[in-house]
């Protein structure tokens, strides 16, 4: 099960955080800070995994954004890379060649998409089409409310 997912920029600015385990705010901040520094200091030649406390950290950089997930010992780190990639694909489809700014200005949308891909830290939908359909339908629902 995924413990949490963080998105942050090359400058170390947090862009998205999704926690599937309960921690006090302070702890979350500490973990975030620690991981951002560790990952940013790693060289591009290095592999995408690190051992960190009792978790495995899987991260991958897409353009200016780092996607970082903490998974449990039994989880497949290569699959986690696929999950990250799937999420990026979904963002890309939704925003149309997504960039960091899209995620900054529409962070809530980025959360909504993630919530249609994962529930409770596990994959709930393996079809891209279904995820996007669900998001679109909910956006329509919102628009209709705006009109009334």
């Amino acid at each position: 099960m995924m413990q949490f997912m963080l998105l942050f920029s090359r400058q170390g600015k947090l862009r998205l955080q999704k926690w599937y385990v309960a921690h006090p705010d302070k702890v979350k901040k500490k973990i975030t800070r620690e991981l951002i520094t560790t990952i940013l200091s790693r060289k591009p030649k290095m592999c995408s995994f690190l051992e960190w406390k009792d978790c495995k950290i899987v991260y991958k950089r897409y353009a200016s954004l780092y996607f970082c997930c903490a998974i449990e010992q039994n989880d497949n780190e290569l699959l986690t890379l696929e999950i990250i990639h799937r999420y990026v694909e979904l963002l890309d489809k939704y925003f149309g060649s997504v960039c960091e700014l899209d995620i900054i200005f529409n962070f809530e949308k980025a959360y909504f998409i993630l919530d249609e891909l994962l529930v409770g830290g596990e994959i709930q939908e393996t079809s891209k089409k279904n995820v996007l359909k669900a998001i679109a339908a909910q956006d329509v629902l919102q628009e209709r409310e705006l009109d009334t």
Partner: protein, 946 residues
């Protein structure tokens, strides 16, 4: 001008004009709104822009604070129109790291709103802002309950998603019924989310598993991949939590196999395809569940053998996704009771992974091989060369794994080739690897060495390659190996060390361990080295001078060098060089460093008044036998430590024995030695920083005694004395009982010498050093300490050894100790006394004696303080291979001067070294005090004298 501008850059101007128009419209529109309605809050988009426009952190803080103040205001006014927008802004502010807890309740209000937009942001906020605080959670449980029963699927979806992310145990209990109902919903969108919610609920509260069981099974009959993957995840969790459920689900193995088969064999399905692989997410989940179901179950394993083989052979491996599935397959094959052929296939897949250009896949392969190496070492051996190749990987994590795996693969057949590669690795390795790698090299060299010469060469290479990063154990074990080698090997390695010492003359500072081993060897076996006639005596002395005068040689190394030079002076023939050596040594008599000064002074004596003793005193060290099981038995840190015998230390004792306790330097030295010993006793702190390790008394006492036997003069008895005292403190038990009688005599001698010393009248038994002028200061130093009557002073020394802080102890301590020693002397001839504790006036000793197949140990606690100690409780624990029987103690209150005794009997079921962990608790002045310590060195077998 304008016209020309237009002409030059019309596009620019068009943009400016459009911007200007937009700005005007927006401004006017805003103004219009202002006049008509209450001021609208900043839009989220604008706030983000403002924050991003902030040039400094302070500016950003100001923007955020202003906005937060505003948002708080609207919350207070219960403004429900803009609540959604305000919460969205607050969530952005929260992500920047600012406090946003004050929005928690507003989030809940949003979730209770009938509008979907409000709910969407409200639940998002709840997931981000809520912690597990009870009161808020109760409120949200109600909201969730309502929404779980909503008729809009997306509202139910939001509630399920929120529950999945933040379910606390209470929430899980309250909402499990609703979730179970939703698992039966006809709507696939809801069913898959409900199944994952159930997964989270069980994760938090395993007892709730029961209610979900009936609805779970049917999830696997679905076509929808979302439901399938959620179902497999849920079943996996259930099986991991309960063995009963695991057995219950064994029967679904055929279903899982069928689903997996369909995935592989079914043609291209665009919906679930990931670069040519059909739904890797689902495949991996199924493979993992199969692994759990097949673990330790031959029948289930049999049922999945074929499909695993199929997956392993049919998966496209050009992309990460294919390798993801193969990786999971390999894990499953290794974990179930699979066929031998399949296991070889699995290891070969990992072998192929090692050659992959993707570093992630290489990393995973090494990690997995490391996990499986013990199960299937021969299969992994086949990929040895690839693994060694990974030692050169640019990725540090891969190199680390490769190093660990390489060491795991070493055996007596491949040791030569492997160590060659590892030495190359060691040479270039990062600092963080060098210490670990060098220690492990020493370990494998010891374990698999084919010849002494090879081992010596390897150790030398390690010392050269790892420089200062080698741990102290490498130095001591190398020295020990050289000591125990035949003379021709000693000469060989001596020459090689000499050569390597020559090669590093410009970089001493980063090769100190090599330097130490080299000078030790050359000093010890100078005659052998010189007999090769390759080296001139003058060259040798020249080098020593260079080393000793160099600023880039550490103090510890200089200590080695000085001792070595003294030894060397008896191995060279040329009088001229001997005189030069003397000169160098004498120069240290005024050295600023107290230990070097002491050595300088002591050794100079050997060139003057006692020069006739010099050859005998500086004899070669005898070979030593390892008294403790070697590292392979892995008896823990404690043993490893007592195992690392520092021979220089032995040397030092021999030489400082000349001064023994009569010199100030001598007793200071003793203090620091006993520190090191105590450190070791106290569970082996690995801090023999100055290279002074432990003398294993069993090893050193006897050889020294023989050396002394040749020189029957007062100084030698002092020497013996010191050793005996050390023995008496540390592990008298490991000293055979025969060594105890001299101890009594030793005290007598000491008594004299100290007595003499403190009254400054050299008696017949002192070494005459007190008259040496360079020594006056030290004498004073000592005198200021030793202000006790002579009799006491002598007996204080053991106490000083036991706890260096209490050199000036109360006279009662000294007396009782003296009594103790004499009582041992008289009555307990075959027993060994171990001091377990000597602190704050409480002395706890163990007297161990072999009696009729078991070890009888009598604990004696003596209260030397002036305070009554109450509720004295002595507890002991022994390793599992021993049984301990404790008889009741003679009391629990220790009046000043009082004693408590308690008898224990230890019998062993296996041949092992007895260690005893002690816990001593008592009350001093009403304050509870707890001491813990570890004692070892008990007699193992009936001693040879019996």
């Amino acid at each position: 001008m304008n016209a020309s501008d237009h002409g030059f850059n019309p596009a620019f101007n068009m943009a400016t004009i459009r911007q200007a128009i937009n700005d005007t419209i927006e401004r006017d529109f805003g103004a219009l709104l202002k006049t008509v309605r209450i001021p609208t809050p900043t839009r989220l988009r604008d706030l983000i822009r403002q924050i991003r426009a902030a040039r400094t952190a302070a500016e950003e803080r100001a923007v955020v604070n202003r906005e937060c103040a505003y948002i708080r205001g609207t919350f207070r006014e219960e403004d429900s129109v803009w609540r959604c927008r305000n919460i969205a802004k607050l969530l952005y502010i929260h992500m920047l790291g600012y406090p946003a807890h004050f929005g928690q309740l507003e989030c809940l209000k949003l979730t209770a709103s009938p509008r979907f937009t409000d709910k969407r942001i409200g639940y998002l906020g709840a997931m981000l802002l809520l912690d597990e605080r009870q009161d808020v959670h109760l409120l949200i449980t109600n909201c969730l309950k309502n929404d779980l029963n909503s008729t809009t699927q997306f509202v139910v979806g939001l509630a399920l998603c929120t529950l999945g992310a933040i379910a606390s145990p209470e929430m899980a209990r309250d909402l499990a019924g609703e979730v179970e109902k939703l698992m039966r919903s006809p709507n696939a969108y809801i069913r898959k989310k409900a199944a994952l919610c159930a997964f989270r609920i069980i994760k938090r509260v395993p007892e709730l598993m029961e209610i979900f069981l009936p609805a779970t099974r049917s999830l696997l009959n679905e076509k929808n991949h979302g439901i399938l993957i959620a179902g497999v995840t849920l079943i996996t969790e259930m099986c991991e939590k309960s063995q009963d459920t695991l057995n219950h689900f064994k029967k679904i193995v055929p279903n899982l196999v069928r689903i997996l088969k369909n995935l592989i064999l079914a043609g291209y399905s665009p919906e679930h395809d990931v670069s040519g692989v059909s739904d890797p997410f689902l495949q991996v989940k199924i493979l993992r569940l199969l692994r759990i179901l097949g673990h330790n179950d031959p029948d289930a394993s049999e049922a999945m053998n074929d499909i695993l083989a199929q997956v392993a052979t049919n998966t496209e491996t050009s992309k990460n996704v294919g390798n993801t599935i193969l990786y999971e397959t390999v894990l499953s094959i290794m974990d179930i009771k699979s066929e031998g052929g399949l296991r070889v296939l699995a290891v070969n897949i990992l072998g192929r992974f090692l050659l992959n250009s993707d570093k992630n896949i290489r990393y995973v392969a090494l990690n997995t091989l490391l996990r499986t190496v013990h199960a299937d070492i021969s299969a992994v051996q086949r990929h040895r060369s690839t693994i060694l190749e990974c030692l050169k990987d640019p990725d540090v994590s891969i190199r680390r794994r490769a190093m660990e795996l390489s060491f795991a693969l070493i055996n007596s057949q491949n040791i030569r080739a492997m160590s060659k590669e590892l030495l190359i690795f060691l040479e270039k390795a990062d600092a963080e690897f060098k210490a670990q790698c060098s220690s492990r090299m020493v370990h494998v060299a010891e374990r698999y060495a084919t010849s002494i010469r090879w081992r010596l060469d390897t150790l030398l290479s390690v010392l050269i390659a790892a420089g200062n990063y080698v741990r102290d154990d490498v130095v001591s074990s190398t020295i020990q190996l050289i000591l125990n080698s035949p003379p021709e090997e000693q000469a060989y390695i001596g020459l090689r060390l000499w050569d390597s010492l020559h090669n590093i003359t410009n970089s001493f500072e980063d090769k100190q361990p090599l330097l130490q081993v080299a000078v030790w060897t050359i000093g010890e076996y100078g005659d052998l080295v010189l007999s090769s006639e390759r080296i001139e005596e003058s060259e040798l002395v020249e080098l020593y001078q260079k080393l000793l005068w160099s600023t880039s040689v550490s103090t510890a190394s200089k200590q080695y060098t000085l001792v070595s030079l003294a030894k060397l002076s008896t191995r060279i023939n040329s009088k001229e060089e001997e005189a030069r050596a003397k000169q160098i040594i004498e120069a240290f008599g005024t050295h600023l460093h107290i230990d070097l000064q002491q050595r300088g002074v002591e050794f100079s004596q050997l060139f003057r008044d006692y020069s006739h003793l010099r050859p005998a005193l500086l004899e070669k060290m005898p070979k030593i036998q390892k008294s403790l099981p070697n590292g392979n038995d892995s008896n823990g840190i404690f043993d490893e430590h007592s195992n690392s015998i520092d021979l220089i230390e032995g040397d030092e004792l021999e030489s400082s024995g000349l001064m023994s306790l009569s010199g100030g330097g001598g007793s200071l030295k003793v203090g620091s030695d006993s520190n090191a010993l105590l450190d070791l006793l106290g569970g082996g702190s690995d801090d023999p920083a100055d290279g002074l390790g432990l003398v294993s008394p069993t090893n050193s006492i006897i050889p020294t005694a023989t050396t002394n036997g040749k020189t029957p003069i007062p100084s030698s008895s002092n020497n013996q004395d010191l050793l005996d005292l050390l023995g008496g403190l540390d592990m008298p038990a490991s000293t055979p009982p025969a060594a105890i009688p001299p101890l009594g005599g030793g005290i007598g001698l000491d008594l004299n010498s100290l007595n003499d010393n403190s009254i400054k009248a050299p008696g017949p038994q002192t070494t005459g050093v007190t008259s040496s002028s360079s020594f006056g200061g030290l004498d004073n130093l000592l005198n200021s300490n030793v202000t006790l009557p002579a009799t006491t002073a002598a007996t204080t020394i053991p106490t000083g050894l036991a706890s260096p802080t209490s050199l000036i102890n109360s006279s009662s301590t000294a007396n009782s100790l003296f009594n103790d020693f004499s009582s041992i002397n008289n009555n307990e001839e075959h027993a060994k006394t171990l001091t377990a504790l000597d602190k704050n006036g409480l002395l706890v000793q163990l007297v161990a004696k072999n009696s009729g197949g078991c070890l009888q140990i009598v604990m004696t606690a003596v209260n030397n303080s002036l305070i009554t100690l109450e509720q004295y409780l002595f507890q002991a624990a022994v390793p599992r291979s021993f049984t301990l029987q404790m008889l009741s103690p003679s009391g629990s209150t220790l009046a000043p001067g009082g004693t408590i005794t308690q008898e224990m009997r230890v019998s062993s079921t296996a041949k092992a070294t007895l260690r005893m962990r002690l816990r001593i608790s008592y009350q001093c002045d009403g304050n509870p005090i707890l001491e813990q310590t570890e004692v070892s060195g008990f007699p193992e077998e009936p001693t040879p004298l019996e």
